[in-house]
């Protein structure tokens, strides 16, 4: 097997139209950021899927650990953070 160093992996984010967030599209290998942008255009926007591309070295992404099951527990019990928790009579109309 080749012992040569692989080009680093980049995560690709694409804004599909003005007004929307950049959204994760996938990943690809490239030697540097400029090449990553060019490759992302060819791999992920062959049919006008994007107006703007972000690329981030995958190694730079810090992610939460799904094994830590209680990470999102606290929010689950806080139903009073949702508007439907509060009773407002129908006569009031939309609020």
């Amino acid at each position: 097997m080749s012992t040569k160093k692989e080009w680093p992996l980049w995560e690709v984010f694409i804004r599909s139209k003005a007004g929307l967030y950049h959204k994760h599209a996938g990943s690809l290998h490239a030697a540097d950021a400029e090449m990553a942008i060019e490759n992302a255009r060819d791999v992920y926007t062959r049919r006008n899927e994007g107006l703007s591309i972000w690329v981030v070295p995958s190694a730079q992404v810090t992610a939460s650990d799904p094994a830590e099951g209680d990470m999102f527990e606290s929010a689950k019990s806080k139903v009073y953070r949702h508007p439907t928790f509060y009773d407002i009579p129908d006569e009031i109309g939309h609020m």
Binding site: M1, S2, K5, W7, G26, D32, V43, R46, P66
Partner: protein, 313 residues
């Protein structure tokens, strides 16, 4: 949690249709099965560029050349989506290439058949991509998130492939007697190998049951093959071509077409390396990989040098 509990929790998620994502715990067998399947799927996309690339310079018109070029570019893209999906499971791109080049990993046997006439480009787009779509539509619902997402993207792009192939066949089938014969000859050669693309029959398929339980696949090889036959017959009739299967018959009771026996000896012969193009396909891939090595190295060296310089300033 011990492994038995983890396994139970994992299967419960699958049963509840919750997708599995890269950092989630998963059994080794699930990971290995996915790496094998996704990488072989990726290899099929990449090797699949060869039989079609063969006709780019000889396409009969500019329209056909543009269509074919775009299709082959798509196949490259599809390979890349899939390699990335496999990498989320902990394998590396180089490792996967190495397995392809050394024959440890397979790719779809259909690409070991030669494309000897222009009609073969039509037959491949129509039948080979058509069969692939049957399989891939199912895989958009696969339990592993990155694989399913890659499949959604691929399926959106594939339907143009099948339509451009069928259009090529339509033009030939309605052309001169020689052109119609060319289309018929291509159908004769690609029909049975297309049916083989779905893999061995359910009874013979060693990975099927577990893959279904893990919801990597949701339909059996035979179910998909039947759906493909059922969908293809009207298309063949419209072309005015003859199906190379004297046993094909509508079965009122089953609500499906019955079709003749598949020559599984041929299938296994080609899988094991005995097809017309097995050797040349791998040779072409290895050559491309070897000849690209200095480019990969130079680009990396250039990037490192620039990064060093930027750090100094």
């Amino acid at each position: 949690m011990d492994d038995v509990k983890k396994l139970e929790a994992f299967q419960a998620k699958i049963d509840a249709e919750i997708k599995i994502e890269p950092k989630d715990w998963m059994p080794d067998g699930y990971r290995k099965t996915l790496i094998r399947q996704i990488s072989q799927h990726a290899h099929s996309e990449i090797v699949g560029m060869l039989p079609e690339g063969n006709w780019i310079t000889r396409a009969p018109s500019l329209k056909r050349k543009m269509g074919l070029l775009a299709k082959v570019q798509d196949e490259a893209g599809h390979g890349l989506y899939l390699y990335s999906a496999a990498e989320t499971l902990g394998t590396s791109r180089d490792e996967m290439f190495d397995q392809l080049h050394t024959g440890k990993a397979k790719y779809s046997s259909i690409f070991n058949y030669p494309t000897v006439s222009w009609a073969d480009i039509g037959a491949i787009g129509w039948l080979v991509d058509g069969a692939a779509i049957m399989n891939q539509v199912m895989l958009t619902r696969a339990s592993y998130g990155p694989y399913a997402r890659a499949m959604v993207r691929i399926c959106k792009e594939e339907s143009f492939h099948q339509r451009q192939g069928y259009e090529i066949m339509m033009v030939l089938a309605k052309g001169t007697p020689e052109q119609k014969q060319m289309a018929q000859d291509s159908l004769n050669r690609f029909w049975w190998p297309s049916l083989m693309m779905f893999g061995p029959s359910d009874a013979e398929s060693k990975h099927s049951a577990q893959s279904m339980a893990w919801k990597i696949k949701r339909k059996s090889n035979d179910e998909l093959r039947q759906a493909f036959v059922d969908a293809s017959i009207a298309q063949i009739e419209y072309l005015g071509l003859e199906l190379p299967d004297p046993e094909l018959k509508w079965n009122e009771e089953r609500g499906h077409y019955d079709f003749g026996a598949i020559d599984w000896n041929e299938f296994w012969k080609v899988v094991k390396g005995g097809g017309v193009c097995n050797k040349s396909r791998i040779k072409a891939r290895k050559k491309a990989w070897a000849e690209g090595e200095w480019v990969r190295e130079a680009a990396m060296a250039h990037a490192e040098k620039r990064a060093e310089r930027a750090a100094k300033n």
